[in-house]
């Protein structure tokens, strides 16, 4: 049953009435109400109007107050009997939205009327004040017209002699005294006509469309208040409307001053003070999350455009936390650009703000980046900007449906959110209003923006197909081809994206439009695309485009990839000659065969694609085949000791954690390193900012990229540890613990270890169970009676809030604590000795002191390994001593003395207990072999302090991380030396 026209009309009238009474009803609610009426076959006509209207309450009201008000208003709107419109409110118009409507010449007519009124007024005044003076007789007639009209003689008076606004001549002062109010009444009459005309024009929004052109005209309302002219006219329009709203008392009418101030805030986006032109300075803050963050590239491009326009811009980059920003030099072209002065290399935002008072901040990021993810309020750094009185505008390429909720919060702080496109920047450069963002089509499931699109595990095939369809629906087929082209190369790179875009999308404007939308996709924001999606996109490439792209990449190999983004991005695709094609085929074939086992799967896929194999990216090479190839290429396996003797058999891989992508490069991080399968994971506490950071590198080759897992402040982090399989990190805070999956969000847990500390001092140790040991936590308390209590809990006990406690009588305080298989034994390290506690029945503790190897200096680190049932453990000292004990034999099995400058900072024992890796505070690291104590392999030379060392599961690789998050991975795989490698 469809809704009748009368009911539809009454529904709209009802909603308009409710809006005027303070119940905000949007279009979606009206549609829902119409749907409900239609579904239930209800009508708003006749005697049932009130009861049926009351049924709309659940869809028209948002809270209890509105619900109660709604009932009262519906009773007023439709009293018993036929529904009636409220007499006073029907005339209240719905405020039309204006500002971006098409410009027409419809304002000419009303404006002409207004001008005519002005002309009449001026003409009348000219008649009165001008040289054409009326004869005295006529003046006499006019000034005494009222008594004369009622008289019989008045009927004979000639109309042409009446001069209502004629001024008496100076020569007849006695006659002027007879009509003192005549001229003023006439002037007031025309003034009323003029104001009425003005209000009428405002009411019909004719002047609204002219507001942009009048934006710079300011009106002085008081000594310290200058507002733009359009703000005044808008206020007058609202004032006019409020007069027509009779239900409201005078106290609800417009406060002109407040309204003018509020309107001025909106009218002038970037200008804090009106009326006085001044030179404005902008602080452009671009958020860059990764090296190849496409959003950041676009933001920086727009900033460069702003600089070229001659604006005074200081340019900065920031990451998650903008308390510290990184200055950078935009490509200013022929414009001028200020360079920050008087600040540090990585200045704090408050320093920048205080050095640039009244500067306006332009933030190029997602609006949600300005909010605290936990509280939903403004982030502290952004609060600093707002409290400093700096006007803020957020430019984003994200579609509006992704920042609707954030915009509500930001607008309460007077932060505007606009689309980051060339029109906005041009408008800004022209000192005009920023254009409203164009609303884009929303994606229902958000699959193109969520982080799970980055997961390595492939979703079901249907979902992959749905994602491909969604990309095609979002960008169109041309844009989809662009994404497909970007998926061919193993990495998402800005110059490459530009180059293939120039190849596929010839129209520059269309390319720019597509690039804005493409950069919003999650894979381009993070500059990473998982292989499953790459394979799916490549499989959908049509033949012609595939051939073009293959030729393009062949040519790109001949160029330096970094050169692609410079100069003209258009690259001519030339078909190679047959000989060139054969030579290239051979070249790639040789490169493919030279790939080692540990190198990235991605590069192999790319190379195979270039060779033109059918559906190449879906081909996964079996591990056995790769192992066989590896053995065939590398020759027979040799033992580790032999190449340790040579000292040159280790292949090193260095990598810094995206140091050039971070606005704040940490220098003092208590970092941990671990392996997760074939990838490397690091985690640590940045002592400078107090944030827990973690990153993962998927491929242990020089081509791999670090992927930031998290970088957030979680209270007061005290210690961070990685789990044995690298899948989780544990952050120990002052009052709790947090488990953070290295691919997902964090999981806070109640802390059971720390509570109940009643002693004078307290040690906390999180000992991740590497090398097959069980994950345990240990807390030590020095009790007031001089004894010490150790509380031990594993993860299950944490969940059940249970623990194991030992009371250690007369035990001196340990310097550090290491832990291994707590149910069997526990290790304490003191200044002068090492003690192994072996708990027995009934809480008894057996103390073992394997002390037949002296240690020089203070003991710094302890690590455990497994050698049969009982562990071996190693300790190193501040004076370069490394001692390894075998608990079963209760004796030292290795003692190594380095030079005294070798202050041990990190220690690791391989799973079998054979290899010992030690790092020092001066950046040196060495590898020891328990089976051959005379051998020492130097891993690194001097540099930043080593923070942690770890072996992988098969102890074929050892990784170390320094306090500035640089990592080094040494491959321990036995191999022969290649020709040319030095011994």
């Amino acid at each position: 049953m469809s809704l009748s026209a009368e009911t539809s009309k009454r529904l709209i009238a009802l909603c308009a009435y409710l809006r005027t009474q303070g119940i905000e009803i949007g279009p979606s609610r009206v549609i829902a109400a119409a749907h409900l009426l239609e579904a239930r076959g209800l009508s708003l006509e006749g005697a049932q109007a009130r009861s049926n209207a009351l049924r709309l309450g659940p869809v028209l009201c948002r809270n209890a107050d509105e619900q109660h008000l709604f009932k009262q208003l519906v009773v007023r709107w439709a009293p018993d009997g036929p529904a009636q419109e409220p007499p006073d409110d029907r005339s209240v118009p719905v405020i039309p939205w204006s500002g971006t409507g098409p410009r027409t010449l419809s304002w000419l007519g009303p404006t002409s009327v207004l001008l005519a009124l002005l002309f009449l007024g001026g003409f009348g005044c000219w008649l009165y004040f001008g040289p054409v003076a009326a004869p005295p007789a006529a003046v006499q007639t006019a000034t005494t017209s009222a008594p004369l009209v009622s008289s019989a003689e008045g009927n004979t008076m000639e109309v042409s002699n009446i001069r209502m606004f004629a001024r008496p001549p100076p020569s007849a002062p006695d006659q002027k005294q007879g009509s003192p109010w005549g001229p003023w009444a006439g002037l007031a009459f025309f003034l009323v006509l003029f104001v009425t005309g003005l209000l009428w024009l405002r009411h019909n929004a004719f002047l609204e469309r002219r507001r942009a052109a009048k934006g710079r005209h300011a009106v002085r309302l008081s000594a310290d208040l200058h507002v733009p002219l359009d703000a005044v006219t808008a206020a007058m329009r609202t004032l006019g409307l409020s007069f027509r709203q009779r239900q409201r008392g005078f106290e609800h009418r417009l406060d002109v001053r407040k309204s003018a101030e509020a309107t001025a805030r909106h009218a002038g986006l970037f200008t804090g003070v009106y009326g006085a032109p001044r030179e404005r300075r902008f602080l452009a803050l671009v958020r860059r999350q990764a090296m190849h963050d496409h959003q950041a590239f676009i933001g920086e491009g727009l900033v460069a455009q702003l600089c070229r326009s001659g604006a005074d811009v200081l340019t900065f980059r920031f990451d998650a936390d903008a308390n510290v920003v990184e200055p950078y030099a935009a490509q200013a072209g022929n414009g001028r650009q200020s360079t920050p002065h008087g600040v540090r290399t990585y200045p704090r935002i408050d320093d920048v703000l205080s050095a640039n008072e009244q500067a306006e901040c332009l933030l190029f990021c997602e609006p949600a980046a300005l909010l605290d993810p936990l509280t939903g309020r403004l982030a502290s750094w952004c609060r600093t900007i707002v409290d400093g009185g700096h006007h803020c505008t957020v430019f984003t390429v994200a579609p509006p449906h992704r920042w609707d909720s954030a915009r509500e919060v930001l607008e309460t702080e007077h932060i505007r959110v606009v689309a980051a496109d060339a029109a906005s920047i041009n408008a800004l450069a022209r000192n005009q209003r920023i254009a409203a963002p164009v609303r884009r089509r929303a994606l229902g499931d958000g699959a193109l923006h969520e982080q799970y699109g980055l997961y390595q595990a492939a979703p079901p095939g249907a979902e992959v197909a749905a994602i491909c369809d969604a990309i095609c629906g979002e960008l169109g087929y041309t844009g989809f081809q662009w994404v497909q082209a970007c998926a061919i190369y193993p990495e998402i790179q800005w110059p490459l994206t530009n180059a293939v875009g120039a190849l596929l999308v010839k129209d520059a404007e269309e390319r720019a439009r597509l690039l804005l939308r493409l950069a919003d996709l999650v894979w381009f924001r993070k500059a990473y695309m998982p292989d499953w999606l790459r394979a799916a996109l490549i499989a959908r490439l049509d033949r012609k485009t595939g051939t073009e792209l293959r030729a393009f990449f062949w040519n790109a190999f001949a160029l330096e990839l970094d050169e692609l983004g410079k100069g003209n991005a258009s690259i001519d695709v030339m078909r190679p000659s047959p000989l060139q094609a054969i030579l290239r085929w051979l070249r790639v074939g040789l490169a493919l065969s030279a790939l080692a086992q540990g190198e990235s799967y991605k590069e192999q896929l790319f190379a195979r694609y270039l060779l033109g194999q059918k559906n190449p990216l879906s081909l996964r090479i079996p591990h056995r085949v790769m192992a066989a190839m590896h053995n065939a290429l590398r020759g027979p396996v040799v033992v580790l000791a032999s190449f340790c003797v040579t000292g040159a058999g280790l292949s090193m891989m260095y990598g810094a954690v995206a140091s050039d992508t971070r606005t704040h490069v940490p220098t003092d991080v208590d970092a941990k390193v671990g392996f997760r399968g074939d990838s490397l994971v690091i985690a640590g506490i940045d002592r400078d900012t107090g944030a827990v950071i973690a990153a993962r590198r998927d491929a242990l080759t020089s081509q791999g990229q670090w992927e930031h897992v998290m970088s957030e402040s979680i209270g007061t982090p005290k210690e961070v540890a990685l789990s044995a399989d690298g899948a989780y990190l544990i952050a120990l805070e002052a009052d709790g613990m947090r488990f953070v999956p290295t691919s997902n969000a964090s999981v806070p847990l109640p802390n059971s270890n720390i509570a109940g500390a009643t002693g004078k001092r307290q040690w906390l140790s999180v000992a991740p169970g590497r090398n097959g040991t069980v994950q345990r936590y240990l807390s030590l308390f020095l009790l007031g009676d001089g004894n010490m209590r150790a509380d031990v809990a594993d993860l299950a006990a944490v969940r059940q809030l249970g623990r194991v406690s030992y009371l250690l009588r007369n035990m001196p305080a340990p310097e550090a604590v290491a832990l291994g298989r707590v149910d069997e034994m526990m290790l304490l390290m003191h200044q002068d000795r090492t003690v192994v506690l072996r708990p027995g029945e009934g809480g008894s503790v057996t103390v073992l002191q394997p002390e037949n190897a002296p240690i020089k200096g203070r003991r710094r680190k302890i690590a455990w390994g497994r050698n049969g049932d009982l562990p071996i453990f190693a300790a190193c000292s501040s004076a370069g001593t490394v001692v390894v004990w075998d608990v079963a034999q209760s004796r030292a099995i290795l003692s190594h003395q380095a030079d005294e400058a070798f202050v041990c900072n990190a220690l690791a024992v391989s799973a079998g207990g054979r290899y010992i890796a030690v790092g020092s505070s001066d950046g040196r690291a060495i590898l020891l072999d328990v089976g051959n104590p005379s051998l020492t392999v130097k891993l690194t030379d001097k540099g930043p302090p080593i923070s942690d060392i770890s072996f992988n599961e098969g102890h074929t690789q050892v990784a170390l991380v320094t306090t500035d998050l640089a990592t080094v991975v040494a491959d321990l795989t036995p191999r022969k030396l290649r020709a040319g490698e030095r011994h």
Binding site: L36, P58, Q451, Q775
Partner: protein, 326 residues
């Protein structure tokens, strides 16, 4: 014959054989068929079902918001509602499933197999309701083989999201797409669950209005605020709750309803419906006469009604001066 006092200040010895405590009386857990709808709630429920939107219920505590979900399930012939009790730490994904990261962490470190991620997944109310709209065979890749998730075939469910205002501000915002699309993702399994639109779960959300909900969320809900019942409806509620004819209720229940109405007018915190039922249960357990109106003699159980000191003083005074016109 009233039951002997459990705590008796005059008794100086331990009772022989110990004390048997009665079963706890929970006023909120009445029979769903005894739930009494007012007109507005009926309209709101119909509107929510017609529009396929969640029904957001607010109102004073004890007005029957949670009970309505049970009534709705009973009234539509469905199973008991699947309940999600919101906590301050709840996130949107908790509504669908929870992933036991700690157990997986422990398993990984103790050498237990972790390849089957389904073992660490536990589906919660809305997630389970969406799963139940699908054939059991089609969800075996996400559900662990357990009796907990066993069901005969695709069914519709009622889901109760209780006290949504307890959660953080982002909780309702994060539900917008999932509630409208009735789908969710499980990144840990790489799976996506989409409910059968024909068996779309019916969602009832309650809120105590401790914090405002975002407009974007409200726009997608049908809303109703359950008001405190008037005297006539209160009599009907009490009569049904205690198994009497609502057309001829006993004097005790009628006077209690009048007392409730009088207490509502005071400036202090008024008792809720559930508290009034609990109080009457207490009176009846202590031998109150069903055919006598409430009076000053019933003041001893006032602790079940008044939860603040001023309210207690006020209700006691009201009880002393109360003259019901029956």
């Amino acid at each position: 014959m009233p039951a002997p006092k459990l705590i008796d200040r005059h008794r100086k010895t331990v009772p022989v054989g110990g004390i048997t405590l009665p079963a706890p009386f929970v006023a909120d857990q009445g029979d769903p068929c005894d739930y009494i709808l007012d007109d507005g709630l009926e309209d709101a429920a119909n509107a929510a079902l017609d529009l396929g939107q969640p029904l957001l219920l607010t109102g004073e505590p004890g007005t029957g918001k949670t009970q309505f979900a049970h009534f709705l399930a009973w009234h539509l012939g469905l199973d008991k509602p699947l309940e999600f009790h919101t906590k301050s730490t709840s996130t949107a994904s908790d509504l669908f499933y929870s992933y036991d990261t700690v157990r997986r962490f422990h398993a990984a470190n103790t050498g237990q197999p972790v390849s089957d991620e389904r073992k660490f997944i536990r589906f919660n109310a809305l997630g389970r309701a969406m799963l139940r709209t699908l054939p059991p065979a089609s969800i075996s890749h996400v559900c662990p083989p357990s009796d907990e998730y066993a069901y005969a075939g695709p069914v519709r469910s009622v889901v109760l999201i209780d006290e949504i205002d307890k959660a953080s501000r982002d909780f309702p915002n994060d539900l917008l797409n999932e509630l409208s699309g009735m789908s969710f993702d499980i990144p840990e399994l790489g799976a996506r669950i989409v409910a059968d639109p024909a068996l779309r779960p019916i969602v009832v959300i309650t809120s105590n209005q401790e914090r405002p909900l975002p407009d974007a969320f409200l726009r997608r809900c049908a809303f109703y605020c359950i008001d405190a019942p008037d005297g006539e409806r209160m009599v009907e509620i009490l009569a049904r709750r205690f198994g009497h004819d609502s057309r001829n209720p006993p004097a005790l229940l009628k006077s209690a309803a009048a007392f409730y109405t009088a207490a509502q007018r005071s400036g202090h915190r008024p008792p809720s419906v559930a508290e009034l039922i609990g109080w009457l249960h207490l009176l009846l357990e202590n031998g109150a006469d069903l055919h006598s109106p409430v009076s000053q003699a019933n003041e001893r159980g006032i602790a079940a009604l008044a939860k603040t000191l001023p309210a207690r003083k006020h209700l006691a005074e009201l009880l002393r001066t109360f003259q019901p016109s029956l």
